[in-house]
Symmetry: C2
Amino acid sequence: MHISELDTPVMLIDLDRLERNIARMQHECASRGLANRPHIKTHKIPAIGLKQLQAGAVGITCQKVGEAEVFAATGAFPDILIPYNIVGKQKTERLLRLTTQTRLTVTADTPETVRGLSAAAREFGGELRVMVELDSGGHRAGVQSGAAALALARMIGDAPGLTFAGLMMYPTSDYVRPVLDDARERLAQANIPVEIISGGGTGAWARSAAAGATEHRAGTCVYWDYNCVNAGYCSVDDCAMSVLVTVVTDACEGYITVDGGSKTFTNDNLSRERSNGYCLEYPELSLARMNEEHGVVALNGAARRPKVGEKIRIIPNHACGTTNLHDYVVGHRDGRVEVVWPVAARGTIR
Amino acid sequence: MHISELDTPVMLIDLDRLERNIARMQHECASRGLANRPHIKTHKIPAIGLKQLQAGAVGITCQKVGEAEVFAATGAFPDILIPYNIVGKQKTERLLRLTTQTRLTVTADTPETVRGLSAAAREFGGELRVMVELDSGGHRAGVQSGAAALALARMIGDAPGLTFAGLMMYPTSDYVRPVLDDARERLAQANIPVEIISGGGTGAWARSAAAGATEHRAGTCVYWDYNCVNAGYCSVDDCAMSVLVTVVTDACEGYITVDGGSKTFTNDNLSRERSNGYCLEYPELSLARMNEEHGVVALNGAARRPKVGEKIRIIPNHACGTTNLHDYVVGHRDGRVEVVWPVAARGTIR
C-alpha cells in the first residue's frame, strides 16, 4: 500500500530518516564520550525505543510512571530513568513495583519527595536509585545551589531504601554550570561519589560534554520537527514525522483548509514562527491558523496549489505534542507502507 | 471514594454542574425558539450526549466521521449533523454506511465536495442530506455569497442521492448576516425550501435567534471553561470540568510545579489571558507556564499556598482541547466519585 491511499489525517514516519536520526543521535553522544539515554516521550513506541537500544543507547528516559510501565512491560528495557519528582503514595508504589522489572532511577529536588520515595521503598521492600535535579534556568524544578544539592544527596544516601545515583539537569545550559560545578566540588569534598551526571536536550550534546556530563538525554531528534528546523538543528530533509491531511475546501480566497487542526497538530508553536508546520509538497504555503479540526493553509500568492481532495504532508512544529494526539503511526519507506505501530505509551496520562 | 483519593492528573466532571449546564443550554435555545443540537466535540462521551437528548435536544453535532460512528453505534442517537466537508472515497463510504443507523446530515461549500458525496450515495445506494455552509468570517470554510449558496443548493438538489437540507454557519456572527439574508432571498425566489438554518457557538444563541436560525449548535457550555469565564459567558462556579493535579515541587522560589502540563491541559490559550487555567482552591495563583509534563504555577506573592504532595484542581482554559487528551473522566458530586466514563470518541482522529 502507498501512503497516498491512507485515510486522513494520519501520522507518517519515514523509516529511513528515523533510522538515520537514531544513528546520528548515537554518534553525537558517543563521539563526545557521552552515554546515550534517549527520551521516549517523543515517540512513545517500544519498537522505536528498541531500535535506539540496538544502536547503542545505555537505557531510555521516560517522563512519567505510566510511560515506564508500558516500556518495562515489554521486557526489552532493562534500564529506565524517570527524571521527575514522583510524589504520592499510589505512584511511589507503582515505582517500586517497576524495580522488579528494570533498573529504575528517579530524581528529587525536595526533602518531601525523598521522604515519600524512602517510605515506599521501606514498605514495598526494594531499593530505588535517586538523582538530585538541578534547576537549569527553566525554574520549573531543581535545587538552586550546590549546598542544597549536597544536603539532598546526603539525605538520599541516609534514607532507607534509597541510593544516591548522581545529578540531573534539563536542559544542559550555561545557567546551570556554576551550580553544577559547585555541587560536584561539595560532593567530592564530602566523599560522596557521583555515579551519573545526566544532561539533556536535543541540540545540547556539546553543552553536556563541556559540562562534564556522563550521559545525555535527547528526545525530539528521533523525528526532528519544524521547530528544530527553525532553530537550525536540522533540515526539513531530516524530519521523519509528517501528518498526511486532505484538502477539504478552497472556498475562501487566499486559503485552502485541510482536515487537521489543533486536535491533530497541537497548538505547541514553540518557535513562534509564522507557520504552524511545513508543507512538504508545497513549501511556499504555510499553516496559518488552526481550529480544532480545521487547518487553514495560506496560499501566499503561490501559483502551484493543491486541489480539493488532494492529500498533502505537513511536518508539525512540535513532534512530541503531536505524537501525544495520535493512537498509531504508519511507518513507510519512500511512501510504501511497511508497519503500523500503536503509540503504546500515549494515554497513560499518569 | 472521594476525588482526593484519585491518582493524578485526572479529569473531573462535577455532575451537578454538568446537569445544570445541560438544562441551561436547552433553556437558552428553547426560550428563543431554537432547536438545540449540542456539539459533542467538547465531551466526546455518549452518556453525556444522552443527557442532552433527554433534556430536549433534537439531535447532536459531531465534527468528524469517527465521532459520529462512535455515537451512532450506541443506537441512542437517531439524528446527527456533521458540519464539515467530508472529502475522499474512504470517508464518504463511511458516511453512507452511517445513514443506515441514523438520520445523517453533512455540509458542503464546493462543487467538489458535492460531487464526491453524490458519487458515494449512488455507489452505496442511499440518500444523504446536505446543507450549504456559509463563511461566518473565520475564512476557514463556507461559500462567500448568496449567489454561490444558491448555485450549490441547486447542484445538491439536482445531484443523485443528495437532498438539500438548508444553510449552516459557524459561529453565528454579524459578518454572516448579509450573505445569509441574500442566500435566503435567492433560495425563496428559486422556490427551494430551506428546511434548516443551523447557527452555532457557545454564547451565540441570541445572534442565532436574531438571524432567523431554526437550530443552534453549542459545545463548550456543557462544561464551560476558563476562556468562557474570561469572555464573560459564565462564572467559575458554572465550570463543570477541572483537572486534579499534585504539587510535585516547590524548589523554585515564587513558583510551585504540578504534574500536569501541555499534554494534560493543551496550549490552547484562546483568550490570551495571563493564566493557563483557574486554580479552584487557590484562586490567587496562576498557571503561568507549561512544559509537556510540568505545570508551573506562579504564587503571585500569596500567603496561602499548597504544599508538595497536595492535590489541587485547575479549570482548563479550553475544555474541548483538554477532553481530547484524556482517555476517561471521573464524574463526582460534591467530591464523591459517582461514575467513570471513557472518552469514547477520542482518538477517532479521522
